[in-house]
């Protein structure tokens, strides 16, 4: 008797790996994540408020690495091959305003890509812990 109510949820659990898509899939998979990375970086690197630290930077390489990172974080089949956030931002003196400036560009790009609100929040929540390694604390 006890087993009968549990049966539908058991079926649901078994079906989960097949039916559930990852955040990565909902962001548009490889192409979607690459476009989100590239568009966000293009906006950030051209906005006078945020472009300072992108001067003379190899943007092609940066876009590839950020796409890898978004892919891995959102459950995609990639491995981020770049440096730690702390190492890659050391000495750049990124301010809080610059950090949130880039977050703003990411939000706008996610809207353009018609990413659902819940997925947008999920991605931002995955990225938020990076702030402590990116933003340089004022001495």
């Amino acid at each position: 008797m006890r087993l009968i109510p549990a049966l539908p949820s058991l079926i649901a659990i078994l079906a989960l790996p097949v039916s559930a898509d990852t955040l990565y899939d909902r962001l548009g998979g490889e192409a979607g994540v690459a476009a989100i990375a590239a568009d966000t970086l293009d906006k950030t690197a051209s906005d006078p408020q945020t472009r300072r630290s992108f001067a003379k930077v190899n943007m092609k390489r940066l876009k590839t690495l950020v796409a890898e990172q978004l892919c891995q974080l959102s459950g995609g089949p990639c491995r981020y091959s770049g440096e730690s956030m702390k190492q890659s931002h050391a000495g750049l003196h990124i301010t809080e305003a610059e950090f949130y400036g880039m977050v703003g560009h990411l939000r706008a790009v996610l809207d353009t890509h018609q990413v659902a609100q819940a997925d947008k929040n999920a991605l931002l929540a995955l990225l938020a812990p990076m702030k402590r390694d990116v933003v340089e604390a004022k001495p």
């Binding site: 051209s46 003379k56 050391a90």
Partner: protein, 206 residues
């Protein structure tokens, strides 16, 4: 005895002078204007080149290599101090010394030893327009021309040398000059070199 010593003294003096000849080289471009930043070096033909100063610095300042053109002797340890104090990833695919050197903010790196002669182009992975050129020569007698197009190779022992010039943007190599240094021989030389500026590259749309 007194009379005999004078010619001997003169002979001794002349041989001392012959021991060390200050060599100067003038570089002009195709239009006859002085050409700076050209590497000039003298390779001894008769004797083996002694070892000179085997250390050199190529710095990173405002995401550029300083200097752009470098010359060192074989065996020189080149340090990359990273005045920028941000991350750089310096690399070269050039045959004399392929290497990959990660520079981090506030972390000194070990120097790179260039132990074979040849030309090396240095780049940075992170800042793709950073470039520097290094010529590794088998002689301690080298210099780069100044704004007046003059290079001073120092005091060279008498003997035969091959005098060569090099610039990373040279249109074609200038023929080497075979020179003989000694008493009474010339010690000032001149070259003409035509440069072709490289096409503008790099990522300017930041």
């Amino acid at each position: 005895m007194r009379h005999a010593s004078l010619p001997r003294l003169l002979l001794a003096l002349s041989s001392i002078c012959a021991l060390a000849v200050p060599v100067e080289v003038q570089l002009l471009d195709a239009a006859g204007k002085p050409l700076g930043e050209v590497v000039v070096y003298a390779e001894p033909l008769s004797a083996k080149a002694p070892k000179g100063k085997l250390s050199h610095i190529i710095d990173q300042v405002d995401k550029e290599f300083v200097p752009l053109v470098n010359v060192v002797q074989v065996g020189t340890a080149v340090s990359f101090p990273n005045k920028d104090n941000i991350r750089h990833n310096i690399y070269s695919f050039s045959p004399p010394k392929p290497f990959d050197l990660k520079l981090y903010s506030g972390t000194p790196s070990s120097p790179v030893v260039f132990d074979k002669p040849g030309q090396v182009v240095l780049g940075c992975n992170i800042h793709d327009w950073m470039v520097s050129y290094l010529l590794i020569v088998d002689t301690p007698w080298f210099d780069k021309t100044d704004a007046r197009g003059m290079a001073k190779l120092g005091e060279l022992p008498a003997g035969e040398y091959e005098l060569k010039v090099w610039h990373p943007h040279q249109a074609s190599a200038a023929p080497a000059q075979k020179i003989k240094l000694g008493s009474g021989a010339a010690s000032a030389f001149a070259f003409r070199l035509k440069l072709t500026p490289p096409p503008a590259s790099g990522n300017h749309n930041y």
